[in-house]
């Protein structure tokens, strides 16, 4: 395990499975009457969110608190960034106060990588531009694994605005790493210009794909980007690519309906689909906290980075037994 969590590709199948395995322990902690353990006492985590976020930030915040870490809230709109401070200076300033991890979201791809070159702290990517959102992919894998036991051989359709979606990129990488088959369903205008090197199928016919899938993963229609007229009208988009009430009957009885949130009810997902018993959207949110606990613990608490271990002589065996 490395010091940072920047992308799904860095983890590989083993890394993903390690985090999912560890997540089970933290899901148990989350279910306790007092869901708090002292594992990260004294660690300081800073949120560096240059883009709006409710669930990711609150989810990380909850995860950190359940591990007893301290958190520094940093809101770009009310900070020195408005006075023209550069990203690098902001990072150096907050690390000078002593932080062990920086959780960053930024509208530009690659910002988390850049920050790792400036600071000693662990850096966690909470979304960079259209590029990656690794903790979302991990929590989605955990949610699917909870239901099906494994992703091996499962068929997942990722439906909607693939082009602007970091969730789609991270999830495609994670799902295929764990052995699932992925079909992207979107109009041509909402696909990236080139899909070279993407390990997936592509379809423009949602009705043909839906009956064959184990998971229907609906992406948010990014309404703020509709000025570019990538779809003629939202109604037309919904008719072609929304999970409408009629399409619900088309789904298998075991098919999972997923959405990373925030939902545009009535656009990419009908209200009745979001509230359908097959929808696991609130499970995704709950699992998000457990997955983020696992990530924070793995990077900050587990001592899994072998480079920092004390020399063998100075380590006291702590337990008597040798199992």
């Amino acid at each position: 395990m490395t010091k940072h969590l920047l992308s799904i590709d860095d983890l590989g199948r083993d890394g993903i499975e390690e985090i999912l395995e560890l997540t089970k322990s933290f899901a148990e902690v989350s279910a306790r009457r007092i869901p708090k353990v002292p594992a990260l006492r004294g660690k300081n985590i800073a949120w560096l969110f240059y883009e709006d976020s409710t669930r990711t930030r609150l989810s990380f915040e909850t995860a950190a608190k359940r591990l007893s870490a301290d958190t520094m809230n940093f809101s770009v709109s009310s900070s020195s960034v408005n006075k023209g401070e550069s990203l690098r200076d902001t990072c150096l300033t907050i690390t000078a106060m002593g932080v062990d991890a920086i959780v960053v979201r930024h509208r530009s791809a690659g910002v988390p990588w850049q920050i790792t070159k400036w600071v000693d702290a662990s850096v966690i990517n909470a979304g960079d531009g259209w590029h990656e959102h690794p903790t979302q992919a991990l929590l989605d894998c955990f949610t699917i694994q909870q239901r099906f036991g494994s992703l091996e051989g499962r068929h997942v359709a990722i439906v909607g605005d693939i082009k602007h979606s970091r969730v789609a990129r991270s999830n495609l990488a994670a799902f295929t790493a764990l052995g699932a088959e992925v079909t992207l369903v979107a109009p041509q205008t909402l696909l990236p210009p080139s899909l070279e090197g993407w390990n997936c199928k592509v379809s423009h016919d949602l009705d043909a794909v839906l009956p064959t899938v184990d998971v229907a993963y609906m992406l948010r229609m990014q309404l703020e980007r509709q000025k570019q007229a990538l779809v003629p009208t939202l109604r037309e988009y919904t008719a072609g690519y929304g999970l409408t009430e009629q399409r619900l009957d088309n789904l298998g009885s075991e098919t999972m309906i997923m959405h990373p949130g925030p939902m545009n009810r009535g656009v990419e997902i009908a209200p009745s689909a979001a509230d359908d018993p097959r929808a696991v959207i609130t499970n995704q949110v709950a699992n998000g906290v457990s997955v983020r606990m696992a990530v924070l613990f793995l990077l900050l608490g587990s001592g899994g980075d072998l480079g920092t271990l004390p020399e063998p002589e100075s380590v006291q065996p702590d337990d008597g037994d040798a199992r």
Binding site: R33, A39, G303, P317, D318, D319, D321
Partner: protein
């Protein structure tokens, strides 16, 4: 020590090499029955009692003690398991990973909790367990049963029920299984 932690701790990839056998399977069996009787005697019965095994070494012994208690009293005895990794005081100093399930039956308010572990050494695992138990309620009392007390305590903790006291050197390793207790070293 759990398998994964052992893999990640020095000497990396070391294996346990036994020097002597200090308890046989029969000795372990007799110690379990004796401790079960002592638990009943000490608590004047089994009312409100719950047995909790420490992951991972304490669990097989905890299961045997629970079964013995049930057989002696003729009634079910509630039991659970606890993984204390996240409450350890050496997090960050060495690899610590939660490994196995924590399953506590109901809340622990006003219960008598008997913690069960295989080896009592520095006492730090038990301190972590006492801390972890708090999250499940406020027990009336907490008692400690261990198969082997090997000394070298670093905290003011003592066992209530002991299978066997075995004087050891610090660098020795005590290996407890249900088929016997061995004394030896970790070797590469």
């Amino acid at each position: 020590m759990a398998e994964r932690e052992r893999r990640m701790s020095p000497p990396y990839g070391g294996v346990f090499v036994a020097r002597t056998t200090v308890m046989s399977a029969g000795d372990i069996d007799r110690a379990i029955w004796r401790m079960a009787h002592e638990i009943i005697e000490h608590n004047h019965g089994l009312e409100n009692l719950v047995v909790v095994g420490l992951q991972t070494g304490g669990v097989p012994i905890s299961e045997r003690i629970t079964a013995a208690l049930a057989e002696i009293s003729g009634a079910e005895v509630p039991s659970g398991t606890i993984d204390v990794a996240l409450h350890r005081d050496d997090i960050g100093l060495r690899p610590v990973m939660p490994e196995e399930a924590t399953e506590i039956p109901g809340d622990l308010n006003q219960r008598i909790v008997v913690l069960v572990d295989d080896v009592l050494f520095t006492g730090r695992t038990i301190r972590a367990a006492l801390d972890a138990l708090h999250d499940f309620g406020r027990p009336k009392s907490v008692q400690l049963a261990v198969m082997v007390d090997r000394g070298h305590r670093e905290l003011p903790i003592r066992p209530d029920y002991v299978g066997k006291n075995i004087p050891t050197r610090r660098d020795e390793v005590v290996n407890v299984t249900l088929t016997g207790v061995e004394l030896g070293e970790m070797k590469k």
